[in-house]
Each structure stands twice: as structure tokens, then as C-alpha cells.
Symmetry: C2
DNA sequence: CGTTAGCACTCGATGAATTTGAGTGCTAAC
DNA sequence: GTTAGCACTCAAATTCATCGAGTGCTAACG
């Protein structure tokens, strides 16, 4: 258990360090407004905090910097989250107002505004189509042998892929099949589509069309295959403004990682609901062991739709970022609801 | 007019410099296989080449590096383009073979493989839908007041956007309108859609439906609005491997620019057909005055569909990149034709 | 006359030695 | 428990000398 004074000092050190990126000395703490202890006293406390593993010293004659554990304590107990700043809220309002005619891309815009407001990197996971239902399914023939399969979700999201039509199946057969699928699948959540296809539809379909197994398999794949949620990334180059990444090699490790959408998805999907903070090595992915990742999920009618996140150096403005993510995740939810009507 | 020997020396210097990123001295040239002149002779020639503006000296006691003009001469007169290397071709084959089930995204894959093979940054412009024709148009109602408009092109590409349905128009009216549009617009190139809508369809439609002007305006916008070609970017972080960008600030200028899709499009669209090389300051965009951009367009049945490009440092392997882009642009064309069937 | 050996000269890069100063830990006094 | 005082530490900045790759120029050579 930390004393009140120790908590104050830890907080002050983190604040200072976040701002300056330089080790913080006892003198600069003691000179702060509202602090009435001499540097010597502060030094004693600092030594104690170091022993507790909350601070560390880059070298003997330098000030202290927070350890991962120190940040963790700060985030868990010390942080003040007093809501997004007026300024940020106004920025967000006008930004979305400008893009209102493209509201279907709220998520993409959210990524942009997040990185702009924070000067960190934002990673945003688009609405997870798995949590939504199938509204409409359709084939548009392109020529004799191929067609575009179009899948519309109840959220208005559209996926499409090109399929090849097997020999010996006519367009007529195809449209019969599609009609049946639409009848049976409309309103079914995507994650159940596969099951429904096998249990209810296969038999029924056999009545109408011969040799439909091959077609069905293709359509099934078209519908269920890889509804990978989209990942939006914005402000990756902001990483380069952080002094901790002035070394190009370190920066490259991170930027390389950010280019692998797959890894990104995996990274951000590992975060459950609510607001999550992963500090430094708490992140499973080694490339970002020098970074912190804060995420928030956004929901619609109780369903988690996706995640917005901020990746920055461990030396991050946790309070500000958490407030912002909290505000924006709610705001997105609102905007989307309005979109769904 | 350069003498044979001068051309040889210029070529040798550029080769060396591209490999090493260090100023090239007279000795290292004279020691090359097949060179039978002393360093002193080479030095004299070098001085002449410098006077011609083809070389420059970072400082008096350093070797020479090529100037923009020198690279230009190299690209225009000296370069040997002997086709993509066996190794690269094999890589491309297997890469595309793996992704065959997602051939509709050839372009995205092309960007990836390009950056992987070159270790530079690739910028690829997706098929320009303006050069294609409308195959199918459709509305899928989401709820009473909104619907998703889906536009399918003859290439199999799909665009979609959400629209709001004006008060007082029934779904029935809508589908009538959509039917007429499909009848009249199928096969029309996108760039003519607007004209056809106004000239042929407006009157005809008035017969079927009252108050259709508002709806028509919305649909027109849905169809013609912003078919911005997609830009794919890959290997942006490769920039960081180049010694010329070991300075984080320089790197950031470029990476910032690469995040603005709009600017990217503009940059790459400024390149007309065939293979284009823009060296250093020849690029209009200031942020990449330290870079060279090489582009190639890919076509289908004589129509230019899009552009693939490589952005790297001025000190770039021009021969290799040009061969590769040449090969890949043809390959993409082939793959897409097969896709269209 | 073109080519080359020789040589003095230039100047960034490298690295050792030195200085500086922010910050510490400890001790003793308040 | 707090603080003044002080010796000590060590990275960073500064200075200075050295090194060496590469040049330009001159004179000699075939």
C-alpha cells in the first residue's frame, strides 16, 4: 500500500515523464506547485518506489522513469478520467458533420480523427459482420462461367466476391437456388448461416434442382468465407514523432508489424469488451513491447460491433486517450444507430 | 554527346552507387573487370562529367555521386532492361497461384508482391471503373427509409453506397425505377451514365412514376458519385531501410504523404500510359523530391485500367524495377482477362 | 596527345581525452 | 521525520588529433 505522498510523487513523475520523455529528478518534483517537501525527502520516497518496482533508473546519476508496473499502478489507481476535452469533442463533431454523406464509413473516419487528435496511431476494427444478419443474397452473372455474389447485411454492409459456375449448371438453376437461399436465409445471423444451410436447405433444394451439391458448396463458401472484419489504420507515421522511436530500426519493427493486417486484427481482437489498457510487455505481440495499446469496443443494441484502439509509446497520455476512446466509442454507436434508423 | 568511355564510367558509377549508397571514387572504377584505365584517367573523365552536370561531389575530397540529370541520362540511354529475373517470375507465379481463389483482388496482391520483390514501396491504382460499363444496378431495402444501392461493373467490380429514400415514395415505385434503369443502362460505360440518364431516361420514367425527379437525382448520384479508384499501398516501411532516410524526419515527411490516399491518387494518376520514370525533383509533389517513382499502366482490350508503381529512393535499381513493372503489368492484364473470361 | 605516376592537399569520419552538469545516496544536524 | 550539505557518478557534449579515401595538378612517358 502506498502512502498518499508516494502516490502523489509517482503521479507527478509519470506526468512529467510523459510530457518530457526525460528522466525526472527529485528537484523538478519538489519545485512543483503544491509540493512542500525538499528534494532530499522526495529522493527518499523515490528510492522506496524504486524498491517496490514502480520506478527505475536508466543509470545511477539520472532521474527516475516509471516502470511498466509503475504505469500499471498509475492506470489502475491514480489516473483521472474526466471525459474528453471540449476541444476534442468539437473537433469530432465538425469532422463527422463534414463526412455525413458518407456515414457508412464512420469507422474509417473514426480512425482518422483518432490519430489526428492524439498524434498516436489508431487501429480500428470495422463492424463485425458475424454479429449481424443476412438481409439479401444475390448473384449477378458476369458471363457464362462466372458471377458476382453479393451479400448484404442488415446493417447495410455489403460484401462481394466472384465465383465460378460449374459446368452443366444453367443460369436458370442458379437463380432458383438463389431464390430458395434468400427465402430461407433472410434474417439469419451470419454465424448461423452455415448450420442452416446444412440442416434445412440442402434437402429442400434437392427437390428443385439436380446436381446442386457442387453449386451449394460454392455458394456456401461465398457466403461464409472470410467475413474478416476490416481493419483501418491511421497515423502510423505518428510513431516516428516519438523520441523513443528516433532509432529507425525500432520504428521499422513496429511499422512492419502495422502493415500486416492479419496480425493487427489478431492483436486488437484479443481485447474483450469495455476499455482495455495493455502496457508495454503486457502485449502479446513482441514487436510492440515498447508500446501501449488502449482499446474500446463500440456496441449497437447490446451487441459488440467492433473495436477502436490507440497504439502509442508506453510513455502515453493515458488519461486523455482513455477519455477520448470512451467518448468516441459511444459516439460511433450513436452515429451507427442513426444510420440503421 | 558522350564518348563511349564516358558512358561506361557514368554507368559504372551509378551501378556502384546504387549498390553501396557511398560516393564512388576513381580507384574503385578502375579496378573493375574490363576497365583498363588508370584512376587518373578516370578522374579526368569524372571531372568532365561533373562539368556536364551528370555527376556531383558531396565535398571536395569525396568520390562522385550521380546527379538527377545523371540518372536521367542513365535511364534514357544506358539502362539495360532484360526482362524480369527468373527468380522474380517464379515468385510471382507461386504468389498468385496461392491467392487464386481471391483473384478479384489481384491488384491488392500485386501491390504486396511488388513491395516484397523490390524492397521498395509500391503504389497501385485499382481498375478505373470509369473505363468499364455498368452491368447491373440494384437497390436492397434496409428499412423504410434507407436502402443499399449496389452497382456491378462488367469487370465484376462492385461498388455500394447507402441512400436515403425520400418521403412519399414507395418501394414499389423504387423498384419500377430501378427496372427501367437496368434496362437502359446495362452495358453503358460509366462515364456516359450521367448523359444517358438525362437524355433518354428522365422523360421515359416520368410516364411510369410521379414525382420521380427527386429519386432520380439520388440514384444518379449513387451511380456516378465518386467511383474513386482504389489505391493500394504496400511496403511503406521499406522506406526506412534506405540509408537516405535514416533521418527520422525525412522519413516522416514521406510516410505522412503516403497516408494521404488522395495525394497518392493524384500523384500516380499524373502518369500517362506505358512505363514512366520520374526521378527526384521531376516529381511534382515536394515530399518525394528525394524519391523516384516508376509506373506502368495495365490494360484490358486496349483500355487502360489502372497503374502499378514503385516508389523508392532516387538511388534506385531502375533496371530491375522497370523490368519487373513491365512484366507484372502484362501479367495482371492476363490474369484479369482470364477473370473476365 | 592521350595516358599515367606521383604528390600535396582537402575534409569528413573516427575516436580518445576532457569537461560539464544534472542527479544521486549518504550523513549529520535540525 | 525532514532537510541541508557534500562527495560521487556517469551520460552527454565538447574539443582535439589522427586517419585515410579521394581529389586536382604537374610532369613524365610512349
Amino acid at each position: 500500500m502506498l502512502s498518499e505522498r508516494q502516490r502523489m510523487i509517482l503521479g507527478a513523475i509519470i506526468d512529467d515523464y510523459v510530457r518530457s520523455a526525460e528522466p525526472v529528478g527529485s528537484r523538478s518534483i519538489s519545485k512543483r506547485a503544491g509540493v512542500s517537501f525538499s528534494p532530499a525527502t522526495i529522493r527518499n520516497e523515490m528510492a522506496d518506489l524504486e524498491e517496490l518496482g514502480l520506478l527505475e533508473q536508466p543509470h545511477t546519476s539520472a532521474g527516475r522513469i516509471p516502470s511498466i508496473k509503475g504505469y500499471r499502478y498509475y492506470v489502475d489507481h491514480l489516473i483521472t478520467v474526466d471525459g474528453a476535452s471540449e476541444h476534442d469533442i468539437r473537433k469530432i463533431r465538425t469532422f463527422f458533420a463534414e463526412k455525413m454523406n458518407h456515414w457508412e464509413n464512420v469507422i474509417g473516419h473514426a480512425a482518422t480523427i483518432l490519430s489526428q487528435l492524439t498524434n498516436y496511431t489508431s487501429i480500428v476494427l470495422g463492424p463485425e459482420i458475424f454479429n449481424t444478419t443476412l438481409k439479401h443474397f444475390q448473384l449477378v452473372p458476369i458471363n457464362d462461367a462466372s458471377a458476382v455474389a453479393i451479400i448484404v447485411a442488415n446493417t447495410g454492409h455489403v460484401e462481394h466476391r466472384t465465383i465460378t459456375i460449374p459446368e452443366g449448371i444453367t443460369m436458370d438453376d442458379m437463380s432458383k437456388i438463389v431464390n430458395v437461399l434468400n427465402d430461407k436465409l433472410a434474417g439469419v445471423p451470419f454465424f448461423r448461416v452455415k448450420a442452416v444451410l446444412h440442416s434445412e436447405i440442402a434437402k429442400e433444394l434437392a427437390r428443385y434442382v439436380d446436381h446442386c451439391e457442387g453449386v451449394l458448396a460454392i455458394l456456401e463458401q461465398a457466403i461464409t468465407d472470410e467475413h474478416e472484419p476490416k481493419v483501418y489504420l491511421s497515423g502510423a507515421s505518428n510513431m516516428l514523432t516519438q523520441p523513443e522511436f528516433k532509432d529507425v530500426d525500432k520504428a521499422k519493427t513496429i511499422l512492419d508489424m502495422l502493415e500486416e493486417t492479419q496480425k493487427l486484427t489478431q492483436l486488437i481482437q484479443a481485447h474483450p469488451g469495455g476499455i482495455q489498457v495493455r502496457i508495454g510487455t503486457e502485449n502479446a505481440v513482441e514487436a510492440i513491447n515498447q508500446c501501449s495499446l488502449i482499446t474500446a469496443t463500440y456496441t449497437h443494441e447490446g451487441q459488440s460491433l467492433g473495436t477502436i484502439g490507440i497504439l502509442g509509446p508506453v510513455r502515453m497520455e493515458y488519461g486523455k486517450v482513455i477519455s477520448l476512446l470512451d467518448y468516441l466509442s459511444r459516439d460511433i454507436a450513436k452515429l451507427m444507430s442513426r444510420g440503421f434508423k
